[in-house]
């Protein structure tokens, strides 16, 4: 009797502790979600009014002239991100392949360590580096130097996630290819990488989402421009940079446009993340069977 009573008490105590744990976890989750929703809601309320066709397609107007837009910044964002992606994907993917194939030994370990360090370097330091090697020696700002900085920001993410993606392809698939007499390289390129492709594209989308709102490295690389600039060798307007400039300006018109730009950037990150999730779901489905 006494034993069963103590067991019941024990059980009741464990139930209470368990309930408390769940309650605390849930509260924290709600706080996090609410913060995010407040930020999102506030940006939407402040920014939605600024977004219209002119805002998306026009050049900025001079101070005091109403209207105008960030069309050149949107274009510049595409150009700079496109260039950065074009440089980061081959380097990041091939490094990821290398690490997944020859994962052990001092060189791969060193590469992983360097990649982790690089991912922890503040983006402004990376911007300064791009300034030191690509802006100062050439004596002019350029979109290309911004792409270079973005590439450095994207690389560690791409290296580690593509390595993970390739490793997550079941070993049996690779063995199946090798057992047919395929070379290691052919098995990787023809069988393993296509299997890992949805996960790799997910990683790429997340890497783009990671840098699209980066502003610090742009300050002394892309610099900004008032024109429809498409030459990567010239200073170029970038959306994130325009948001920064407008937000700290004293003009209400510009401040409203800064909110609009912020909303565009958040929207872009939202779409990229959603795309990444969809790709990942597809990847999971593919690997289940």
């Amino acid at each position: 009797m006494a034993q069963s009573a103590s067991r019941n008490r024990n059980l009741a105590r464990r139930r209470i502790i368990g309930g408390l744990g769940v309650g605390v976890a849930l509260t924290c989750a709600v706080i996090g979600a609410v913060c995010l929703l407040i930020i999102l809601g506030y940006v939407i309320v402040q920014g939605a009014g600024a977004i219209n066709r002119d805002f998306l397609t026009q050049l900025p107007h001079p101070v005091g002239v109403p209207g105008g837009g960030v069309g050149n910044g949107i274009l510049g964002t595409f150009i700079i991100l496109g260039l950065a992606t074009a440089m980061a994907v081959p380097i990041g993917l091939l490094t990821g392949i290398y690490l997944s194939l020859f994962g052990r030994g001092p060189i791969p370990e060193g590469l992983r360590f360097l990649s982790d360090v690089l991912s922890g370097v503040p983006s402004i330091a990376i911007g300064l580096f791009a300034y030191a090697v690509l802006v100062a020696p050439l004596r002019h700002f350029s979109a290309f130097s911004a792409s270079f900085a973005f590439m450095m920001l994207m690389l560690p993410l791409l290296v580690r996630t593509s390595e993970q993606a390739i490793r997550s392809v079941p070993q049996t698939v690779r063995e199946g290819a090798l057992a047919l007499g395929m070379s290691n390289f052919r098995a990787t390129v023809q069988i393993v990488i296509p299997t890992a492709m949805p996960a790799i594209i997910t990683a790429l989308l997340l890497a783009i989402a990671r840098v699209i709102g980066e502003t610090a490295p742009l300050l002394f690389t892309a610099f900004g421009s008032q024109f429809w600039e498409t030459n990567p060798n010239k200073p170029m307007a970038v959306l994130a940079l325009q948001v920064f400039t407008y937000a700290i300006s004293p003009y209400p018109n510009w401040q409203a446009q800064a909110w609009g730009g912020a909303l565009l950037l958040i929207g872009a990150v939202f779409v990229l993340s959603l795309g990444a999730r969809l790709m990942l779901r597809r990847a999971m489905r593919g690997l289940e069977a």
Binding site: T172, V173, A179, L180, G181, T195
Partner: protein, 260 residues
């Protein structure tokens, strides 16, 4: 080992296999009967899968795996310095424990993943049909050759993997518990297939299932790990004889269900 003669297509001599410093298989000498099914049986951890993986040099893709002794294919040591593992694996195909079709290739492309290069569309289709027919899968997939293999049942996927291995026109077919993940009906289909494939290929199959060994093989080899966990070949003989009159006490204990 009376009936297992030398001079067969595939044989091992004092073969030992290691993972790093750990020895998994020791001193296996066996010749596999040409155009017949040899079953490798034994309890879990007896080294039968490791032994099988040594026979086409897929063992060595593990980071720290090593082999001592020799594996003779047509009298040539496949571990000889001038032998190319890729060429070896084309002569010695393999089917795995779990079906592993290539997820991003269609059924057709899976079947001919290792067929000779430079075929035109018609040639590819013919090669695929040949391979799929010999794996008794053609009738079930002929209308969906362009679809993903992942929609097939487990048994169909495994037959697709057999077709893929057969399409490379190997001389030997290694099968690592090919029915371990399948239901009884799919298992029966694969077993029937093994019986017909052994007219063309020399088959070595690992199996957990003694009934299966008795049903499909003409020779059975029994392996057992010693006290230190190193797998050794206890005996190999005609399947009928091994299951009725084993010459080793340990074999008798195992097949009568006293352990394992």
């Amino acid at each position: 080992m009376s009936t297992v003669a030398a001079g067969e297509l595939l044989a091992t001599q004092e073969l030992s296999a290691y993972y790093g410093s750990r020895q998994a298989v020791a001193d296996v000498t066996i010749a596999f009967r040409r155009k017949a099914v040899t079953a490798l049986i034994g309890p879990s951890g007896c080294g039968k899968t490791t032994l099988l993986r040594c026979l086409n040099r897929i063992h060595e893709i593990n980071f720290d795996a090593r082999v001592q002794g020799s594996v003779l294919l047509d009298g040539q040591d496949i571990y000889g310095g001038d032998m190319d593992p890729m060429a070896i694996r084309r002569r010695i195909g393999m089917v795995f424990q779990r079906p592993n079709p290539f997820p991003t290739l269609s059924i057709l492309d899976n079947a001919i993943a290792c067929a000779p290069k430079g075929l035109n569309r018609r040639g590819k289709l013919e090669a695929a049909e040949r391979a799929l027919r010999s794996a008794a899968l053609w009738d079930e997939v002929k209308d969906k050759l362009k679809t993903s293999p992942l929609r097939l049942s487990g048994g169909q996927q495994q037959r697709l993997c057999i077709a893929r291995a057969v399409a490379a026109q190997p001389e030997v077919l290694l099968m690592d518990e090919p029915t371990a993940s399948l239901d009884p009906i799919a298992t029966a289909v694969i077993e029937e297939l093994m019986s017909s494939l052994c007219k063309e290929f020399t088959i070595v199959a690992v199996t957990h299932n003694m009934q299966q060994a008795a049903r499909v093989s003409s020779v059975t080899a029994f392996m057992l790990a010693d006290e230190t966990g190193i797998g050794r070949l206890i005996e190999a003989d005609d399947t009928g004889k091994l299951f009725t009159k084993p010459s080793d006490r340990r074999t008798e204990d195992y097949i009568s269900g006293r352990f394992g």
